[in-house]
């Protein structure tokens, strides 16, 4: 892989891949945490509606944000010519 400023290789490329991976790690962690809260509210029969309502808002938006970033990152690298 070349190491030009517009198409970097080596360490910078590694940092870029790491950035996308970390964004997805964050989103997967949030999703896991919220799913755990939903199962807990279901198990305790406690505020299930509120839990589901909040989860329905939060989960898609976090996923959307990570998807937009991935789309931007991959798209910018791919369409340089």
């Amino acid at each position: 892989m070349t190491d030009s400023p517009t198409r970097p290789g080596g360490f910078i490329f590694f940092l870029q891949v790491l950035s996308i991976s970390l964004i997805w790690v964050l989103v997967v962690s949030v999703i896991t945490w919220i799913l755990n809260l939903i199962s807990l509210s279901h198990y305790l029969h406690d505020a299930q509606n509120a839990t589901l309502a909040i989860s329905l808002v939060v989960l898609p938006i976090f996923t959307l944000l990570a998807s937009v970033l991935t789309y931007v990152f991959v798209g910018l690298r791919k369409h340089q010519e």
């Binding site: 400023p5 517009t6 198409r7 970097p8 360490f11 910078i12 940092l15 870029q16 964050l26 949030v30 945490w33 919220i34 809260l37 939903i38 807990l40 509210s41 406690d46 505020a47 509120a50 839990t51 909040i54 989860s55 808002v57 939060v58 938006i61 976090f62 959307l64 944000l65 937009v68 970033l69 789309y71 931007v72 990152f73 798209g75 910018l76 690298r77 369409h79 340089q80 010519e81």
Partner: protein, 447 residues
């Protein structure tokens, strides 16, 4: 490379990144010292516990939660103003949006730390993840603020990519850093299209997220049966206050950096006039919501509610209450209603007055209700300690410091948007105007 850059008509926007004068280092040293002082007192609080604060048995939320609500409120103007102006294609937005977005990201990070400071034992914040339950409005807050912080950081970063690529190609400083963050952007049509599409999605997402976050913040008060807090209009009241204080902060930041970095050619009087109209509208809206809030309470005449209202209006907190009304309503409405006063110095005075007034509003909402609990217990007056004052000063200094450091790494005004405005803005506005206006009879007849 540098000579080439100096010939750029927008070199003024690159200059803060490339050159630093003595004033910058003095400002960083002073702000850094305040932050370090606050950090030292926070470490002292960690060692001795919350006993070093003025918090007591009934007033368990003091300065830290006031500052939390205040800072999160300030964060609202940024992303919201930027997203609304971009969506509505307001051409005058171009020099403003970046500063607005930076305010949001920095202030959110600072505001979000305050509940952890208030915990006394910061390690206990992990209990939110271990034992959290979504039935609690406090957990809604954690979720909403995390979401808003992620959304606003992404919304700050994506429109910044063309400018980062510009810095990568045209400067010699931090080359690797800019290469990392620019993701190989070279400005091809396809890349521009990708960024435009991403920005449109983010604009649409960020507006409801921003509105919902401050509504959720209001829920930590209004979901309780505490006198003075249990109100159905707290959601919109908090959102209005948030945009109000955020707009005022944006104006102060714009006026300061205009002077500090000589941006007079970019931040013109007209930008301040347009934004000050928004400030005036929100001053009136704030007045309306405050009037409604107290009128319904007084009309209901519920004894405990009246005790809190009297405590605010004519009791121990009356000076703060009336000061709040003067700062949030009287001063901005007088200054911003008259064309002669609506100049940059007048707008600065009105904005500073609103920032002080909105901080007092958070104080007025939180402390009097806690000082007058429903339970028959003796309440001690709340007097903030040196630790609380210092951490407040530290928060403000951290905001200024982070903003200054940001300005050394990235342009405070979006360079690519200015260049795009010059190249395409006039024609785009002309085309839009033609599409809005009714056709002339000649055009209708197909002549």
């Amino acid at each position: 490379m540098m000579e080439d850059l100096r010939k750029d008509p927008d070199y003024t926007l690159f200059r803060p990144i490339l050159e630093s004068d003595r004033r910058f280092y003095w400002a960083v040293a002073f702000l850094g010292a305040v932050v370090l002082w606050a950090l030292a007192l926070y470490i002292r609080q960690l060692i001795y516990g919350l006993g070093v604060t003025g918090l007591n048995r009934t007033v368990t939320w003091g300065f830290y939660i006031i500052n939390f609500v205040f800072f999160i409120g300030v964060s609202h103007a940024g992303t919201l103003i930027s997203a609304i102006l971009r969506l509505s294609q307001a051409e005058w937005r171009r020099p403003i949006t970046r500063m607005a977005e930076v305010i949001t990201a920095i202030v959110l990070a600072i505001g979000g730390l305050h509940p952890i400071i208030d915990l006394g034992r910061p390690d206990r914040v992990l209990n939110v993840f271990y034992y959290g339950r979504l039935q609690s409005p406090l957990l809604w807050d954690v979720t909403a603020i995390s979401l808003y912080f992620t959304a606003s950081t992404v919304y700050l970063y994506v429109p910044m990519i063309p400018d980062i690529a510009l810095l990568r190609d045209r400067t010699t400083k931090f080359k690797k850093f800019y290469t990392w963050l620019s993701w190989g952007y070279v400005g091809t049509e396809r890349q521009k299209h990708i960024l435009e599409r991403a920005m449109t999605i983010l604009m649409v997402v960020v507006i409801p997220v921003a509105v919902s976050v401050h509504t959720v913040i209001s829920y930590i008060f209004s979901m309780t049966l505490q006198s003075g807090w249990h109100s159905t209009i707290f959601g919109p009241y908090f959102v209005t206050g948030a945009i109000f204080s955020g707009t005022a902060t944006l104006l102060v930041v714009m006026i300061f950096f205009r002077k500090f970095y000589h941006l007079e050619n970019y931040l013109k009087e007209i930008h301040f006039r347009y934004l000050s109209v928004l400030l005036l509208v929100f001053a009136l809206l704030w007045g309306y919501f405050t009037f409604s809030e107290y009128l319904t309470g007084i009309y209901g005449n519920e004894p405990m509610e009246m005790r809190v209202i009297r405590f605010k209006i004519s009791g121990a907190y009356a000076p703060y209450f009336w000061m709040m009304v003067i700062c949030n309503f009287v001063i901005p409405v007088i200054i911003l209603s008259f064309k002669k006063l609506k100049r940059i110095p007048g707008i600065l005075i009105a904005s500073i007055s609103v920032i002080i007034g909105m901080w007092l509003e958070r104080l007025i909402i939180i402390v009097p209700s806690l000082s007058n609990p429903r339970l028959p217990v003796v309440s001690e007056p709340y007097v903030p300690s040196l630790t609380e004052w210092s951490l407040f000063a530290g928060g403000v200094a951290a905001f200024c410091l982070m903003f200054l450091l940001f300005s050394k790494l990235f342009p405070l005004i979006s360079i690519w948007e200015i260049k795009e405005g010059r190249a395409e803005g006039l024609e785009a506005v002309h085309q839009r105007l033609e599409s809005y206006l009714p056709d002339t009879p000649a055009v209708q007849e197909g002549v």
